[in-house]
């Protein structure tokens, strides 16, 4: 009874009539709301900060501002936003706002697509799905688009966006490198090798349609373990060795993959590789979503439990030791967590670049570097960005899909540049 949804998903008349007005408006509205809220929150945090230390920001701004980036605009440069030792009340407001924005974004993204479903209908279908309600036969196709295709897809975007942002933030602290991202330890190329191996040689075929995902997951873990073991030297793993080994082995895995494809040039293998290197939420199903969600949610919680340890570790291993934190063993444990999380995400969505690198920085610019707040807020930013990026990717040139990484960069880079120049954000070291 399930008709192929592509007939409607590719209905471009529908699409072009509605698309240019509706989503753009909501995007602008969301952006405006978020900006206003962010200003309000910053004010709240600032007020609290001043109350905490019992002083008004004094005029000693002459010293120490040398390193800040020059402002883009000659007039009206706002002062660097002061942050507090404890902005908990501000954080609560921010989390509330972000939750609302995220839920709203998810709802909008489920309704929009090649076939636009009005919000009332979207809500009705979702309600019916959750409560096992009744759908009239005329609406079955639209219901299926909403529930079977778009909902898991949008939720996967939420999960992966949140997961990549949290992992990126943690990895940057673990290897003490602003350029690190979730794939730094060879996870993505390892996953591709695993997936291609599975689809070419038919290993794991007992797992049926999940074989390739499981292969990718295993490949990711093997790659991380290899990088870790090779980088391991006397006195543990130094962050820089780890990054260098990760980069070097990534090239190795990519070469291996190219060789495998060269000698067995089947369409299937090429398609598999493309999927894993470009990344897409198109393969989302209700079957794989809970598994990925489980890994990501548990992983984020574990990382959050280590926020103060991550703070201390960003001060350097020796300082960490003097503050009672064993950086080497904490790093080893947290790497396992991030590797499993990233492996699970790559297995269902491929490699989506940029989010895990830049969302942590964007978040630090807004709320500061403290991991308790960073690991709380960054997943929201990442999830919201990912939902909108995926929406654009599947609608802007429908019926084709744009590569997610292209859009994350197109949207993320201007935001990043704007924030960096406005706040005088300083990256690790000078």
């Amino acid at each position: 009874m399930r008709s192929p949804p592509s007939a409607i998903e590719n209905d471009n008349d529908y699409h072009y009539a509605i698309w240019p007005r509706l989503p753009l408006k909501s995007v602008m509205r969301t952006v405006r709301t978020t900006a206003t809220a962010a200003t309000a929150i910053r004010t709240a945090i600032t007020a609290r900060a001043i109350r905490f230390s019992g002083l008004v920001e004094s005029g000693d701004s002459a010293t120490g501002t040398i390193a800040t980036a020059p402002s883009a605009s000659p007039v009206g440069k706002p002062p660097p936003s002061p942050r507090s030792l404890d902005g908990r009340s501000g954080t609560v407001v921010l989390v509330t706002v972000l939750t609302v924005v995220l839920v709203g974004s998810v709802f909008v993204a489920i309704g929009l697509g090649s076939a636009v479903v009005p919000p009332a209908d979207t809500a009705r279908y979702l309600w019916a799905a959750l409560t096992e309600g009744v759908i009239v036969p005329d609406e079955v196709t639209r219901y299926q688009i909403i529930w079977q295709i778009r909902t898991p897809r949008v939720l996967l975007a939420v999960i992966v966006g949140a997961g990549l942002s949290a992992v990126g933030a943690a990895i940057q602290a673990l290897v003490r490198n602003s350029l690190a991202d979730p794939y730094i330890l060879g996870v993505s190329s390892g996953a591709s090798v695993g997936a291609v191996t599975v689809s070419l040689f038919g290993v794991l075929s007992a797992l049926g349609i999940y074989a390739v995902s499981v292969g990718a997951f295993i490949g990711a873990l093997i790659a991380t373990a290899l990088v870790y073991l090779i980088a391991h030297g006397r006195g543990g793993v130094s962050p820089l060795r780890l990054v260098l080994t990760g980069v070097a082995l990534s090239f190795g895995f990519q070469a291996l993959m190219s060789v495998m494809i060269y000698f067995t040039p089947t369409n299937e293998a090429t398609g598999t590789v493309l999927f894993w290197t470009m990344g897409s939420f198109g393969a989302a199903t209700w079957g794989t979503l809970p598994v990925a969600a489980g890994f990501v949610v548990v992983g984020i919680l574990v990382l959050q439990r280590h926020s103060r340890a991550l703070d201390v570790m960003s001060l350097g291993d020796e300082t960490a030791a003097s503050l009672g934190v064993d950086a080497v063993s904490a790093r080893r444990r947290l790497f396992v967590v991030t590797a499993v999380m990233t492996g699970a995400m790559v297995a269902v969505s491929g490699t989506i670049g940029f989010v895990g690198l830049v969302i942590p920085h964007i978040t630090r610019m807004v709320i500061g570097a403290t991991h308790a707040r960073l690991l709380l807020i960054a997943p929201f930013f990442g999830a919201i960005l990912m939902v909108w990026v995926d929406l654009l990717a599947r609608t802007i040139v429908a019926p084709r899909e744009l590569q997610l990484g292209v859009l994350t960069a197109l949207i993320g880079v201007p935001v990043f540049v704007y924030l960096m120049r406005r706040n005088g954000y300083v990256f690790g070291g000078r």
Binding site: A49, S53, A67, P82, L85, G316, D326
Partner: protein, 271 residues
């Protein structure tokens, strides 16, 4: 709380960077370590703040073997100012100082009001309260160094080890810091390069050369023309400080020397 280094030895690739170092810092005493570059001062100190496991010997704090204590327990007794230059990400000064409390906290437990007040006091002492909400990466070297010292103070240790704490500090803040250390009542082991500051600050001075302790005692007994020539390979004149009576070491540039029998500048230095 006493600090003992018993036969402390660090061997890396067959070379003894620190060779059977014996040193005791009694409770409340300020002991300075001086010596030329590469003499093993920092290496010895790293064994004390547990960045480097000694190859032999024992570090005892308040009687117990430091390396057998849990890392956190050790950090509650002993704070360190390392040579690491602060954070990689733009934490604020207040956030960095607050991290000094982490050995006293389990997991992500938030700071109490009393602990926050303590952070404010430490920042006041080090003259950085006005920078509390500034990012650490935009500060000058001296301001950053003061932030790290405030963090060590907030840790409320019994013993403090400092590796060249006066680095980057202007003269006023150097004196303020050393004065603060003297009056804190803490047991202090400090590596200093400035022999005059060491003489003014320390109850006793230990001189390291090639990983071995070659002299130890009161500054006036240790800092002699002969020792400075043997260890540092430079000629110096020692005079008495007109007010405190501490020994003061005066150096002369070779070109400015009036007598003709000046020694070659590198004589006696070790590689």
């Amino acid at each position: 709380m006493d600090l003992h280094l018993d036969d402390l030895t660090v061997t890396v690739d067959g070379r003894d960077l620190v060779d059977r170092l014996n040193l005791t810092v009694t409770s409340g005493e300020v002991v300075g370590l001086v010596g030329p570059n590469g003499s093993g001062k920092s290496t010895a100190l790293r064994c004390v703040y547990r960045a480097l496991r000694p190859s032999g010997g024992v570090v005892r704090v308040g009687g117990s073997d430091l390396w057998r204590l849990p890392l956190r327990t050790g950090a509650q007794r002993l704070a360190a100012l390392t040579q690491e230059g602060g954070a990689d990400f733009d934490f604020t000064v207040a956030e960095i100082v607050a991290l000094g409390r982490s050995p006293h906290k389990s997991g992500n437990q938030p700071l109490t009001e009393a602990e926050r007040a303590q952070c404010v006091r430490a920042m006041e002492q080090l003259d950085i309260l006005h920078l509390a909400h500034r990012g650490i990466l935009e500060l000058s070297g001296g301001e950053r160094q003061r932030t790290l010292i405030a963090r060590a103070i907030v840790q409320q240790p019994k013993v403090m080890v400092l590796d060249e704490p006066t680095n980057h500090l202007d003269v006023r803040h150097q004196l303020r810091l050393l004065d603060h250390l003297r009056r804190s009542g803490l047991t202090v082991l400090v590596v200093l390069h400035d022999l005059n500051l060491a003489a003014a600050t320390c109850d006793r001075i230990g001189v390291l050369a090639d990983g071995r302790l070659v002299a130890a005692g009161r500054p006036a007994d240790v800092l002699t023309t002969r020792l400075i020539r043997d260890v540092f390979g430079v000629e110096a004149s020692i005079v008495e400080h007109p007010i405190t009576g501490d020994p003061q070491v005066l150096f002369t540039l070779d070109g400015a020397r009036s007598d003709s029998e000046s020694p070659s500048p590198m004589k006696g230095t070790r590689s």
